[in-house]
């Protein structure tokens, strides 16, 4: 049976764990706020570049542009966006699970699949198993910069244009709210034509734009930029979602610790009372024994 001292030691231990999880929760909350601001700041650019693209797209572009044209798919690259660190509940596990499901059910196994790991957790999972790795970008979430998005996209575009893979799918956590993350599976390349076609906001003839240098050039110039803005948005979403998940996980941990402390405290009190009762009994029965002697 645990002695009083043992129980007291455990209470101390749980209390210090609780302090840590509480602090981590607050750190996550502060970072989350900044991450949310970053998403809001990134929106206008992403939206406007997309609008501009829609203004510029011609029938010919939609059918023949290498970024938009559907090719015969031999290999698929899957961009798996996870966090670099754990301690955020099922955040990473969910993504990995969804990626596995997608590969198995939609692609029929991993024969023609390569993984592009963004974030350490997902990359580590797939690199240790029987998967081809087409690229990785890890350790970026501690200080997220736009450059990272550029580097990721440059690498993806390179692989796409030299035909290493003909389709790019991206799986990431979208930030819904602090307690809710939504797993999103999106086709990244070729850019779904439907998206752009739907957004062509000129049923009326395009205003007579002057193009410098020319329409095609600008369209091709903007497409990679659009992808980069998209990737940046995805990184920011995932980052915010990670902090949200971490906050929830740490909050749960703190609550659990509190509950644990309560039970331990109760046990401690009972033990103490039992010890006191025992001592009194001993004294009384000792005294009684003396009296009757």
């Amino acid at each position: 049976m645990a002695t009083l001292r043992d129980i007291k030691g455990r209470i101390k231990g749980v209390q210090s764990t609780q302090k840590i999880t509480k602090a981590m929760k607050m750190v996550a909350a502060a970072k989350l706020r900044r991450a949310q601001e970053a998403i809001v700041n990134a929106r206008p650019y992403a939206r406007q570049i997309f609008e501009l693209l829609s203004h510029l797209a011609t029938e010919d572009d939609l059918a023949n542009n290498p970024y938009l044209k559907n090719k015969e798919v031999k290999n698929v690259a899957i961009v798996v966006v996870t966090a670099d660190r754990g301690l955020c509940g099922a955040f990473n596990a969910n993504i990995i699970k969804e990626a596995n499901r997608y590969i198995k059910e939609e692609l029929g196994g991993n024969a023609n699949v390569s993984i592009f790991g963004v974030g350490k957790k997902g990359y580590e999972f797939f690199s240790k198993r029987d998967f081809k790795i087409s690229g990785k970008k890890t350790g970026i979430f501690s200080s997220l910069r736009y450059d990272y998005s550029l580097e990721i996209i440059d690498e993806i575009i390179k692989g796409y244009l030299n035909d290493s893979f003909q389709k790019v799918i991206i799986i990431y956590n979208e930030f819904k709210s602090i307690i809710q993350q939504k797993i999103v599976v999106e086709q990244f390349l070729p850019i779904p034509v439907k998206l752009i076609a739907e957004n062509i906001s000129y049923p009326v003839a395009l205003p007579n734009y002057i193009f410098e240098p020319d329409q095609k050039y600008i369209f091709n110039y903007l497409l990679p930029k659009h992808l980069k803005a998209q990737m940046w948005r995805i990184l920011l979403e995932s980052n915010a979602a990670e902090f949200g998940a971490q906050m929830t996980a740490m909050d749960n941990a703190t609550t659990n610790a509190k509950e644990l402390i309560r039970t331990l405290q109760l046990k401690y009190n009972k033990e103490r009372q039992a010890a006191i009762t025992k001592e009194i009994l001993e004294i009384v029965s000792g005294a009684n024994a003396l009296k009757s002697a």
């Binding site: 700041n41 206008p44 650019y45 205003p207 410098e212 050039y217 940046w232």
Partner: protein
């Protein structure tokens, strides 16, 4: 009188939004100025300086590393990769990155470098330094 509205956005934030007299942009096939009632235009632009003239105020200068601009119905939308207001440019940092880029390009046969990237870095740094040296005095009132 209808105004000429300008919005400058970058991936990380919206850098400028408001009415202006004119804007000068380092366009891909030559620098050009947009005044009110300009014809609709979409143009790309390169590393250089964006000059914004404001009503009753000193003009503002931004160092940019390229992007696109759209002018339509007296609305100018500048979508830049980066813009830095003159006041935010760190001259020392620009000089350092200039040195670094130069060093890389000089040793291009020794080190394995991305030449296009180093050249772009060189151009950006030069652009910043030029901008600061040219305008620092008349805007730091």
């Amino acid at each position: 009188m209808a105004d000429l509205f300008l919005e400058i956005v970058t991936p990380s934030k919206s850098s400028f939004s408001g009415n202006v007299i004119s804007i000068t942009i380092p366009g891909a096939i030559g620098s050009f100025q947009v005044l009110k009632n300009h014809a609709p235009i979409i143009s790309t632009f390169e590393i250089g300086v964006i000059k914004v003239e404001l009503l009753n105020k000193a003009p503002e200068y931004f160092a940019t590393s390229g992007g696109t601009v759209e002018v339509l119905n007296n609305k100018i939308r500048v979508l830049a990769d980066t813009v830095e207001p003159l006041a935010d440019i760190d001259l020392n940092r620009a000089k350092l990155s200039l040195e670094r880029a130069k060093h890389r390009l000089e040793n291009r046969n020794v080190e394995d470098i991305n030449i296009a990237r180093a050249e772009a870095a060189l151009a950006r740094a030069t652009n910043r330094i030029k901008l600061v040296e040219k305008y620092q005095n008349d805007s730091s009132l």
